[in-house]
């Protein structure tokens, strides 16, 4: 069998992509995944409170959402929590990745497992464990803004930094140690190596993981639910209380704004990761 025939044969047997059943299932899956979200976005522009039939285009509910002071306050809270979460998760995650990449120590595999525990165990358990913990240790409740968000921020850092560590460690694994040796031979000190060799290599991973940490924090509901008080609501908590009340175009509008922010962040992250994959292919 020559190369061409072999290729044809392979195409015939394994090219599930070209078979009708795959296309039907894929189309149904995509409709299932996206239709509800798209409907939600479209109907945020609907000029009717009943929210089922189309009554014309309007920005009315966005204006309402923007003039809803509680929502804006929740939005500012969410953004500040996400910002502090990103900074701290990036520091802790990078340190963890460097530690696991650089050093040999006893019980290292156990340590690696423990780092992943916040990702693995159910969110509700982390939520109630931290609720009990903050209550027992007498964490002050009446701090001025933004310190009153510290409980939520600490909880978010706990489940964000393992993700950062995993991403940065994957990038570190691709670091060519010869580069470091070359820099040492050329007389660079450790600080210079970190700044001029290691950091540029890590940069895409740092950007991707900070975007991930930001969205994780912006999106979290369950753990925040147990940490938040009347003064410290976040956007998901606010939307939740609106959803419990009823399905209205205003909720659609608020959800669409949050959706837009996360989609933009996700698109940037995925785009950077693609460039990174291409770079690996080249080398």
């Amino acid at each position: 069998m020559n190369q061409q025939q072999r290729k044809n044969c392979q195409n015939r047997i394994f090219n599930y992509f070209h078979q009708w059943w795959f296309r039907v299932i894929l189309c149904c899956t995509i409709v299932f995944l996206y239709a509800p979200i798209i409907v939600l976005v479209i109907f945020s522009f609907n000029d009717s409170r009943r929210n089922v039939t189309w009554h014309g285009f309007t920005f009315k509910y966005y204006e309402k959402a923007i003039h809803n002071n509680n929502l804006i306050e929740a939005f500012l809270n969410s953004l500040s929590i996400a910002f502090f979460n990103t900074v701290f998760s990036l520091i802790l995650g990078t340190l963890t990745a460097l530690l696991l990449w650089r050093f040999r120590f006893s019980y290292k595999s156990v340590y690696e497992g423990i780092i992943l525990v916040p990702i693995i165990i159910p969110e509700i358990c982390i939520g109630i464990a931290l609720l009990v913990f903050f209550n027992l240790c007498g964490w002050p409740n009446d701090l001025p803004w933004p310190l009153n968000l510290s409980k939520i921020t600490c909880a978010h850092i706990l489940f964000s930094f393992p993700f950062v560590a995993v991403i940065i460690r994957a990038r570190l694994a691709k670091f060519n140690l010869d580069q470091e040796e070359a820099a040492l031979d050329l007389g660079a000190n450790h600080k210079q190596i970190f700044k001029n060799v290691l950091f540029p290599h890590l940069k895409p991973a740092l950007i991707v993981s900070s975007l991930l940490a930001f969205t994780l924090s912006l999106d979290d509901f369950v753990i925040t639910f147990f940490m938040s008080g009347p003064e410290t609501t976040t956007v998901p908590i606010k939307i939740y209380s609106m959803v419990r009340f009823s399905v209205t175009p205003e909720v659609n509008a608020a959800s669409t704004i949050l959706l837009l922010i996360t989609i933009v962040l996700a698109a940037i992250a995925i785009w950077i990761q693609r460039g990174w994959a291409k770079e690996v292919e080249k080398s």
């Binding site: 795959f22 802790l92 995650g93 050093f103 159910p122 982390i126 706990l158 999106d219 959706l259």
Partner: protein, 294 residues
């Protein structure tokens, strides 16, 4: 890789901050609820660590035991449905032309980034009694002149499973995709040359080879589905409460912290039980595969 002994300062500088964070905000809180689960409630607020088993015994009360079984059942069914949808999608994407793969993968992964609450809310908007799904059905029925009563699609167990499948599907597709990408396709070619049919190739070769990634995908769906709180809270009816909802009520409504702690410790045990099963299964598999080698 360097030894920690020779670079003490750098080691401790990278070791301490993340470890302290884990210790303070994860291990200590879990230790506290672990102790609480063996404690007794005294009066309204006081809790004494008296090392009693009452809370654990109460968790085996038929009322709570049925919640546990129901949660496990719902999570298992969710996992099964995710696999039945995810498997064909994953092998289809893996065999797609190179230019299509990243696009299809991105389409599958993107919903993962969208807020859980928003996705659940979108499902409510579509499937509620006066939602778009019923509205479309009504439109079709009117077209054929059939009388139509809106269906009650939400607030039952089926709605919870639908919501969980909707949220966890990407977690199943990604490992299956990676698993199918990772093995040598000449095996399939050989089977086909020897006259095996398409279905036989999938059951006799693809499924056994992909078993580790299938197990990973199932774990990735089963564990979060088992502990899910928001989906049953919003899509479920009064009888479709899962463990997480009962736990939440112990803390925020019933104010019985020791019992709530016992329930959440059991949820943690179940989670690690599922992980342990996977670990032992993989070890046995590796062991038997090395044994069979000549």
């Amino acid at each position: 890789m360097k030894s920690a002994r020779n670079h003490k300062l750098a080691f401790w500088l990278t070791f301490c901050p993340p470890t302290l964070w884990m210790l303070i905000f994860l291990l200590v809180p879990i230790l506290i609820i672990g102790i609480f689960s063996f404690s007794a409630k005294q009066g309204l607020v006081d809790i004494s660590a008296s090392w009693v088993l009452d809370n654990h015994i109460r968790a085996f009360d038929p009322v709570y035991l049925s919640v546990f079984f129901k949660s496990i059942g719902i999570a298992a069914l969710t996992t099964l449905i995710c696999f039945l949808i995810g498997f064909p999608v994953a092998i289809g994407i893996a065999s797609a032309p190179k230019s299509w793969k990243p696009v299809l993968l991105m389409i599958v992964v993107l919903p993962f980034w969208v807020n859980l609450l928003i996705r659940t809310y979108a499902l409510i908007a579509v499937f509620r009694t006066r939602g778009f799904f019923n509205f479309s059905l009504e439109w079709v029925a009117n077209l054929f002149g059939i009388p139509f009563e809106p269906l009650t699609l939400l607030y039952n167990d089926a709605a919870v499973i639908l919501g969980l499948v909707y949220i966890h599907l990407p977690f199943m597709i990604l490992p299956l995709y990676a698993g199918f990408e990772g093995f040598n396709k000449s095996l399939l070619e050989a089977a086909s040359d020897l006259g095996a049919q398409q279905f036989k190739i999938i059951t006799a070769i693809v499924l056994p080879i992909m078993a580790p990634s299938i197990i990973s995908g199932c774990i990735l769906v089963f564990i979060p589905a088992l502990g899910s709180f928001l989906t049953p809270e919003l899509l479920g009816g009064p009888s479709s409460q899962m463990i997480a909802n009962v736990i939440e009520r112990q803390f925020l409504a019933a104010n019985d912290w020791p019992f709530g702690s016992a329930l959440s410790m059991m949820l943690i045990y179940l989670t690690f039980g599922a992980l342990a099963l996977r670990y032992f299964w993989l070890r046995r598999r590796n062991f038997s595969s090395t044994e069979n080698k000549p």
